[in-house]
Symmetry: C2
Subunit: 530 residues, 2 copies
């Protein structure tokens, strides 16, 4: 069933195009393309400045070598300190001249000129290679197309696929910016319940099979938004089995899956206590590229035999967010409409960014990219480990199975206060928060337990969450309040259960440690002085 | 009346916001801004990668000095050839490190990180300075805000200001991409007649005052799209008087003016025959910066005492199109809504482009920018002159006043064939095309005269235009077919009168000459062999 074929199953996906996408005309200049670039033809058609007037004669950079980050995950909480001194600081100079000697090289005269919305050809090739070798779509004639980062990609996907008044399936806890993009256009979130792997396939089937147009006041949703790896905010990751189940349901109910996957390369694997970790982990550099790729949770593209997946990739988490560069992978019909949309909004992504990133990736080559990604995964694993280690240090933790919502099926860490003065003896048995150490991504998602809080009845969970959040901020620690990730406004009105999203991706290690100290102190006082 | 004031007249412009713009929520992260960046606070709120993981240690460029292009316009058709050898090729190295020593310098750690949609602070400052000193808005609390080029800016403006089914006032001949942006969203073009200065104020008043909702099947338009300098495609430029007239009408009928002004700095001035030009023109470097700025046609912003102008500026024509960077200037109410739109689509423009362009402009400083712009204007003047000189050389031209449409009020050049074998004697009196040498921009707009063509009755003007266009392309010359610039579909259905848009902005001078040779030959054969 999931074998690669040359074309997606010949089903008609054109009815998925929104009114806007259908009305979008082919760019007027496109009509001239029959003659554009024909040898010997003089073009005085476009309003193009002469490259002579671009004040940049060349641009360049010093870039890190692809082996800059150790591939091994280190053991103890202090090993990051030693890594600082042992890290290789090799840099490689790259440059992009306006007019290179070899006409096939990346050049500024093209990258800084008006160009096709699909971007410079060298970058198109690099992206095609990455997509083919890593994501391995289930059919051969898939298309890749640049966008200006996944927020831009999602905006283009949603306005290409949805009409005002339609619903979009999403996780009950989801990325608020994704909702902020679509809600003003009159598209509505249709939350699906989650478990420890993210979207529950059982709940998805329930929502779709029991859809009632009248009570819902909208037709059955035809589009899904999902972050399948290191889900934002819960950190959950779907395995292949879950993805196949969801894909099968989407075939049955004719749903397009928009797979927003920025954390794909940050698959850190299961957390282990420091005492259980091997001395230097197993160095990732010893894993072959094939094994590394096979170790990553497969994309929905892998199972896409009908061309109903629109995948969004971005350089934000693997190069830098300011790249504002990423790409769609989808069927050629959707790609053509998305390209037309690019022509009348962002046009091609920034030529400075395109050419520098292309030159970087061409310098690294595919093998170097994989090396970089392995190193990056090791870095994030170390950060995840360090942060959880700090929690382990500061709280008494018990591990138990859970059936609660997004924890369902996972081993949950229940955190309680360590009795002061009786360290390593008994803990206060009252659970203050619980969490599942994430296996991917940048976030730890905490469920707050206000059950024993004396003001719970009076104030409700959402207010307590906000009061605690303010107390933390006043105490010097800023984290994500859980209520802002709720897709379900009715839950929110009835009082959102308390959660926090904490990011371990950015702060210095000593600040991560300080953050846990602040968290422990403020949480204790919040419960004790209530 | 047009004096600068601290705030625009206290009229309520909020009713101009579209349903989409009204529904747009403040970014969820914005709620955290009370605490963001507070001294001593640890932020673990956002999903930001550590700058340590950005593989760019620094980026840099060799950029042209601001005096790279001679400020004098040269006399004869061959002087460009000498300029090639006399041009200064001084380049200046600039660089942007990840962590500069001076914390106020542009740095990659910030430019490549997630940031506010309004962009890096140093660029905001540069843009504010350019806008204040050059465009001189009529009120002090105007806002500037980055976008990703004017196509993106127009997309954001139109979806912020218009609802589906509403009309947008525009020139009867206009930039097709601007229409392609808005038409799929159900917004409709309302063409206004033109004269030699672009949009006719008389026709604008007529359209608005005689608006009939029932026969038009839409409410009176509340938004105008206009390219006031070097209009695309006609090349027309409005003077201050016309802008004041239009502004006054827009006040009366409560219309928002979206001023798309990419050619603002390419104000070449009137064309003169080579024999009438002074030996080296008047070198622009001798003009003071104040006089240079005063010599430019004022922006609509200058007269904007009510905050009803949304100006779109771009680096496309003055730095490079691949910058995909530009800015809005408008009232703070609109700017806030446009910024929210940026947050949920493009976010901040590309950090590579932002930082390199900022570093360039900070290196040049304001004085250098003006020097660069003077040089650029001289270059385009030379190109415009050279191209018209070639037409003068190849055709018999007579100058006459005209009342025809976009020529109305201008001296029109009527071109006819020079009789072969009788050069410099009598011309074939049949006018083949006519044009007004543009005073700004990149284009010459030709009106084709098919009156004497034997197949006019049979085929109609639009078909003849297309046949001639194909004959030119087959002959090796690609130009813009006029019909694609028609805003009025009903004219188009009834047969669009024949026009071509020819760009002199990009081709090498010898190719411009070749192009005119091809044009002359193909046009002659088209009429003779019909």
């Amino acid at each position: 069933m999931f074998q690669e074929q040359s074309k997606p199953d010949a089903i008609d996906l054109s009815h998925h195009l929104s009114v806007v996408a259908r009305n979008r005309t082919v760019s007027p200049l496109k009509n001239l393309q029959k003659y554009f670039g024909k040898p010997g033809i003089l073009s005085l058609a476009g309003g193009l400045p002469s490259p002579e007037y671009f004040p940049f004669e060349n641009i360049g950079a010093n870039v890190l070598a692809p082996d800059s980050f150790s591939h091994a995950t280190s053991k103890g909480p202090l090993s990051w300190f030693w890594d600082l001194f042992s890290s290789k600081a090799t840099t490689i100079p790259i440059s992009v001249p306006k007019y290179p000697e070899n006409p096939e090289d990346v050049n500024l005269a093209t990258a800084l000129q008006y160009g096709l919305a699909r971007g410079i050809p060298q970058l198109q090739e690099v992206i095609k290679e990455l997509t083919t070798k890593i994501f391995q779509p289930g059919y051969a004639d898939f298309a890749t197309l640049l966008h200006a980062g996944n927020t831009d990609g999602w905006m283009k996907a949603v306005t290409t696929l949805c009409n005002p008044g339609e619903g979009v399936l999403c996780d009950e806890w989801t990325y608020p910016s994704a909702l902020a993009t679509m809600l003003p256009y009159g598209m509505r979130a249709v939350p699906v319940k989650m478990d420890g792997q993210g979207m529950s396939s059982g709940s998805l089937r329930e929502v779709l099979s029991q859809w009632n147009e009248e009570s819902r006041r909208m037709s059955r949703p035809r589009v899904m938004y999902v972050v399948p790896v290191g889900q934002n905010p819960t950190g959950a990751t779907m395995d292949a089995e879950r993805k196949k189940e969801i894909y099968t349901i989407c075939v049955e109910f004719d749903v397009i899956i928009v797979e927003d996957d920025p954390y794909y390369f940050l698959q850190e694997g299961p957390y282990q206590f420091p005492s259980q970790r091997s001395v230097r982990g197993s160095p990732e550099s010893e894993i072959s590229d094939e094994k590394y790729i096979a170790s990553l949770s497969p994309s929905f593209l892998r199972f896409d035999y009908q061309g109903r997946v629109v995948r969004l990739d971005t350089f934000s988490k693997i190069i830098a967010p300011g790249s504002r560069l990423g790409w769609f992978t989808c069927n050629p019909l959707f790609a053509e409409r998305l390209e037309r949309q690019g022509e009348t909004s962002t046009q091609a992504p920034c030529g400075f960014g395109q050419s520098l990133i292309t030159q970087l990736l061409m310098n690294w080559q595919f093998k170097g990219c994989i090396q970089w990604l392995k190193g990056l995964r090791a870095q994030y694993t170390q950060r995840r480990n360090f942060f959880i280690d700090c929690l382990v240090e500061k709280f008494h933790l018990e591990i138990a199975p859970s059936t609660y919502n997004f924890f369902d099926g996972s081993a949950v860490y229940l955190a309680s206060q360590i009795r002061r003065g009786y360290r390593n003896e008994k803990a206060d048995t009252r659970v203050l928060f619980s969490f599942v150490p994430p296996t991917s991504g940048m976030f730890v998602w905490l469920r707050l337990h206000f059950e024993g809080h004396p003001k719970l009845q009076e104030l409700g969970q959402e207010t307590l969450e906000m009061k605690l959040w303010i107390a933390l901020a006043e105490g010097g620690l800023l984290i994500g309040p859980g209520s802002m990730f709720s897709a379900d406004r009715t839950v929110s009105e009835g009082g959102c259960p308390g959660h926090f999203r904490i990011s371990f991706s950015n702060a210095a290690f000593e600040d991560l440690k300080k953050a846990v100290d602040i968290f422990e102190r403020v949480l204790r006082e919040f419960h004790e002085n209530a």
